[in-house]
């Protein structure tokens, strides 16, 4: 009797450690790399062409946009104040916005503008083209950037705030490159001077559109993506509804900003109307951000719930709630103990945040916080700073308290 040949399926399993963002085994990572290369060639070609011919006119926009980028990176970093997102993933998000989203948006926008002109005429397109093409194409590609980050580094998405942060960074990258492209185009189209053209449009875009532009739109859309990815205990309808709602909101904010002012508006009120639009956009974003921040706060209180008072007191936990309450706690420390006390409390708050991040990582890995090395180190740091804060010899008591103590 012939023996049966059993077909054995070998399962390939590997164990490997990788960095914060590099995931060579994930297909989405290679899609990301390929698209970055595409964007680099496309946008790089345009920017290089601009620099080749009008370099002297572009240094000022480059410096101004660079300064804006630094400022916004700092602000966006502050937004996510309870569990900081890794710099590598934030940089990856920014690169997507700068290279991929801009490249694809240029192609899509040009085609859609041409189509609108053919279909509805020059007058309609001149008025509504930017309001239609920009939001449709740009918000789509930017939001895909957050989606691809979820596919590559899902472990860095725990709550909606993560999506808001990464989405905002995608938007920031897009904004910087878009500003440079506008600087080039305006330099060339200015009838008198490259410098006048490039600098004027750069100042206009930074001062008028800066605070409520692409980082805001993409942040809102990114929040929806993160909600879908992380809130797995909710129904699919709810998750999809929130994601779709956030994307629609991002589209609507962008549409509002790009829409022309009504013809009946007196000319003198145009300036106020523009800033009014921007204020509406910013207020909406702050409301959405507030909701995400509250969820972050609840998470922080849960993760720190098991820690004793010498690690974090109830008052200190309350003070960690917002950036303002933290600042208030530091000011109080400065009042009681001088600048030294303020510095110590700042270090303590930072160490408590780091402990929270370590406890979260341990929880996700289903480890034991009593023995996880990074938790032990972070807790030891907190205790060490507290010991420094409580050391009587080092307390700098202010004049008023010294006088009160002397009178006792």
């Amino acid at each position: 009797m012939a023996s049966e040949v059993k077909r054995v399926v070998m399962e390939r399993v590997v164990m490997e450690g990788q960095g914060t963002f590099v995931r060579v085994r994930r297909p989405a990572y290679w899609v990301y790399v390929g698209l970055i290369a595409f964007g680099l060639l496309h946008i790089g070609g345009i920017l290089r062409g601009g620099f080749d011919h009008i370099a002297s006119a572009l240094w000022v926009p480059l410096v101004l946009n660079g300064a804006m980028a630094v400022l916004f990176v700092w602000i966006l970093g502050k937004l996510d104040y309870l569990e900081r997102e890794p710099a590598a993933v934030r940089a990856a998000a920014m690169l997507w916005g700068a290279l991929v989203a801009t490249s694809v948006a240029i192609i899509a926008n040009n085609a859609l503008i041409s189509l609108l002109t053919k279909t509805y005429g020059v007058e309609f397109t001149a008025k509504w083209g930017a309001a239609l093409a920009g939001p449709i194409n740009e918000e789509w590609v930017k939001t895909i950037g957050v989606v691809i980050l979820v596919l590559i580094v899902r472990e860095h998405f725990q709550r909606s705030m993560d999506g808001l942060t990464y989405g905002a960074f995608v938007g920031l990258g897009f904004q910087i490159v878009e500003n440079l492209l506008y600087a080039i185009n305006n330099a060339l189209s200015n009838p008198n001077s490259d410098v006048a053209g490039s600098v004027s449009i750069t100042l206009l875009r930074i001062l008028i559109a800066g605070p409520w532009s692409h980082p805001v739109y993409s942040g809102v859309a990114g929040l929806g993506i993160a909600f879908f990815a992380t809130q797995t205990h909710r129904t699919l309808y709810t998750r999809f509804g929130v994601a779709a709602g956030c994307f629609t909101a991002a589209w609507a904010l962008h549409f509002l900003w790009n829409s022309p002012l009504p013809a009946w508006l007196p000319k003198g009120l145009g300036f106020f109307a523009i800033y009014g639009k921007g204020a509406l956009i910013l207020v909406f974003f702050l409301i959405v951000y507030g909701m995400a921040a509250r969820r972050e706060w609840h998470w922080f209180t849960e993760i720190m719930a098991g820690e004793p008072a010498e690690v974090i007191t109830p008052d200190e936990l309350d003070a960690m709630r917002t950036l303002r309450t933290r600042r208030h706690a530091r000011k109080k420390a400065a009042k009681d103990y001088g600048l030294y006390g303020k510095r110590i409390v700042r270090r303590l708050q930072r160490a408590q945040r780091v402990l929270g991040e370590a406890l979260a990582r341990c929880e996700r890995a289903e480890g034991d916080p009593a023995s996880a090395p990074d938790v032990l180190v972070a807790r030891a740091n907190v205790l060490s700073i507290r010991a420094e804060l409580n050391a009587p010899a080092k307390k700098r008591i202010n004049k008023k308290t010294r006088k009160q103590e002397a009178e006792k």
Binding site: P27, T117, I201
Partner: protein
């Protein structure tokens, strides 16, 4: 650092992750492909009847204060326009082998400076053309400006900048080398009917 066991497919990539990545790749290019294909499927060529009047308004430029516009009449039959490429400040007309672009510009401080800047832009454009033989020019309608002959590797033509009161019309005409001279009458007739409106 992330460490963990991952199951691989035949390509050495994480199992079950290929399809989402492909879908994302398709999604990224979906708008570009959709609008490009749709735009290509819509015919943009539109015949322009003899005597059609075009009124162009200069696009605002933050670094150049002023507004203005250009009006001109299409001379004779046989002209078509590419609707998709037209803007509120520029129009492209084609007749036979000649392509004419007329653009309105405002906030002009010096016509010669504008002429030189336009020449530079043509020098670095995708279809490179060099300006040769430039000279002062007055249009048949009395508008002062400058005229330059354009020469490229396969195309030639003319660059004309005329205007007043801080506004200008920029006309570029291009035709295959050898047929430029025969099309000059068309350019002259367009310039004859050209009006420029300027103002602060």
């Amino acid at each position: 650092m992330i460490e963990g066991a991952v199951q691989l497919n035949r390509f050495g990539l994480e199992r079950g992750k290929l399809l989402p990545a492909i879908l994302v790749l398709l999604a990224v290019f979906a708008p570009a492909v959709l609008w490009t294909q749709w735009n290509n499927s819509v015919d943009g060529e539109l015949p322009v009847p003899d005597g059609t009047v075009y009124r162009l308004e200069a696009a605002p430029n933050p670094g150049a204060a002023g507004h203005g516009g250009v009006t001109f009449t299409v001379p004779g039959p046989g002209w078509v326009t590419d609707r998709g490429a037209n803007k509120s400040n520029s129009v492209i007309l084609v007749a036979g082998s000649i392509v004419v672009r007329v653009q309105a510009v405002a906030g002009v401080s010096d016509l010669k400076l504008l002429f030189d800047r336009q020449s530079r832009d043509l020098r670095v454009a995708s279809r490179v053309m060099f300006t040769t033989g430039s000279h002062e020019y007055t249009s048949p309608g009395g508008l002062p400006g400058f005229w330059g002959d354009l020469t490229g590797d396969r195309y030639g033509g003319a660059l004309v900048v005329v205007g007043h009161d801080g506004a200008a019309a920029v006309l570029t005409a291009a035709a295959p080398l050898g047929s430029v001279e025969s099309q000059m009458d068309d350019i002259t007739r367009i310039l004859a009917g050209l009006e420029v409106r300027g103002g602060e």
